[in-house]
Symmetry: C2
Subunit: 257 residues, 2 copies
């Protein structure tokens, strides 16, 4: 039974999970009433027309964007979730919790961006086949350095959150847990070797992944045709040549951002 | 005269503007009392110690992070600004304006991330010198496709905001205007040829840049030793070989994210 009768309209590329999936998971887990608008007939055309419309500013820069029941259009995954979560009861009440969730979601967004760039390091206007050698170098760095660093951070956060339950957000079921689930699903799909090697270092993350997967509405969603399968047009892509065994540590030095 | 007597502590790498600069500009424009903590003696050591401390979750994943007067530590540039802006009167009151600002700031963050990756496409754990040929390819795509797309969006938003002043945020002086100023400064530093070619297509953005630069506190800040100069350790780097003249359009196709 939906917790809300409001109707949301999600706009995202119809053929991939992509960034839209973080919004879908929140809407599905809450049992919210929504339309995945761009998956219907003429979906992509409607999506592009909205991006070029003369609507009230700001127009979103790119999908995903969500039309709220009051008519407002919000883009940027983390901004959508930040506004949506209190309505869906997917974040504890209070500014401190909402900021904590936003900070964690943005850290996940950084990881998602790097997962994308692992197969598209030169530019998203080129095909993977035109940047395979660059992707091999970038993926090595991503697999050996960045995945362990990000997942180590979230594992430690889960540990800290458990030790100091009061006020802790991670692992207490919020939209951030749903997003973390999605990132873990994506990384396992794209880099099964790398994730198998990491498994013993991230027990709390793997437990969270199973907890989220078993939530009744999420389980029903994952088995429904509404869930698009992972594929090689999305953010998380399985190219076996990028999921290599470790050979040597990448050289130190470089860039702070 | 400071608008507030609260004292903020900013933690960011001491030798670059980087993402910390978006926070510095907000604090400076508001005349807030703050310490740029990592630029003092033992600064980097203190910064790293905080990241490894057993503080209340969530710890930030990476700099910049800000300690608020109530002791809480917030990381992720857009999350820091989202919490900070109402205290500094750098966003209009009300949830709708705050979400609008967050959405625009996150779009700027995407552009900043791509500006960084133009010189570090393979990985931030490697030196630029170890990825020069990849950087040349990525920078071509960034200069020919991405800068025009992002700046075209913000120029159009400024236009839409002017046409429908009520409720519009961009150009009405908020932290987003300060961030937009910083991005324009950075792009002009890193890609002077590319920006010169774009000038006639972004008159509103260039006017905004001059308006922000002339704000008394910003002008004073830019001429003070507190402003770190752009350099080739930061996000916006001037490598003449990446600021090329256009030769041909990059091939279409590729990736949606």
């Amino acid at each position: 039974m939906p917790r809300t009768n409001k109707r949301y309209e999600l706009f995202y590329w119809p053929e991939i999970q992509g960034r839209g999936e973080f919004i879908r998971l929140a809407l599905e887990d809450a049992g919210a009433s929504y339309v995945d608008a761009a998956r219907g007939p003429e979906g992509t055309r409607k999506l592009l027309a909205l991006l070029r419309s003369a609507s009230k500013p700001p127009l979103p820069f790119a999908p995903p964007f969500l039309r709220f029941p009051d008519g407002s259009l919000v883009g940027q995954t983390a901004a959508i979730l930040h506004r949506l979560a209190p309505e869906l009861k997917l974040v504890p009440a209070g500014d401190a919790s909402r900021i904590q969730a936003l900070q964690l979601q943005l850290t996940l967004a950084d990881l998602v961006g790097e997962a994308h760039d692992a197969h598209h390091p030169v530019g998203m206007d080129l095909y993977y086949e035109d940047q395979k050698s660059e992707a091999a170098r970038r993926a090595r760095s991503f697999v050996l350095q960045r995945i362990p660093k990000f997942l180590g951070y979230f594992e430690a956060e889960l540990d800290r959150a458990r030790a100091r339950k009061r006020g802790a957000l991670l692992g207490q079921h919020s939209y951030v847990d749903l997003s973390l689930f999605q990132v873990l699903e994506g990384l396992h799909y794209a880099f099964p070797n790398a994730m198998a090697r990491l498994a013993r270092r991230i027990p709390r993350l793997l437990a969270l992944r199973e907890r989220v997967r078993a939530r009744p509405r999420i389980a029903a969603y994952l088995h429904s045709p509404r869930r698009i399968a992972f594929n090689e047009q999305g953010i998380f892509r399985h190219y076996p040549e990028l999921d290599m065994e470790p050979r040597r540590k990448a050289r130190g030095g470089g860039s702070r951002r």
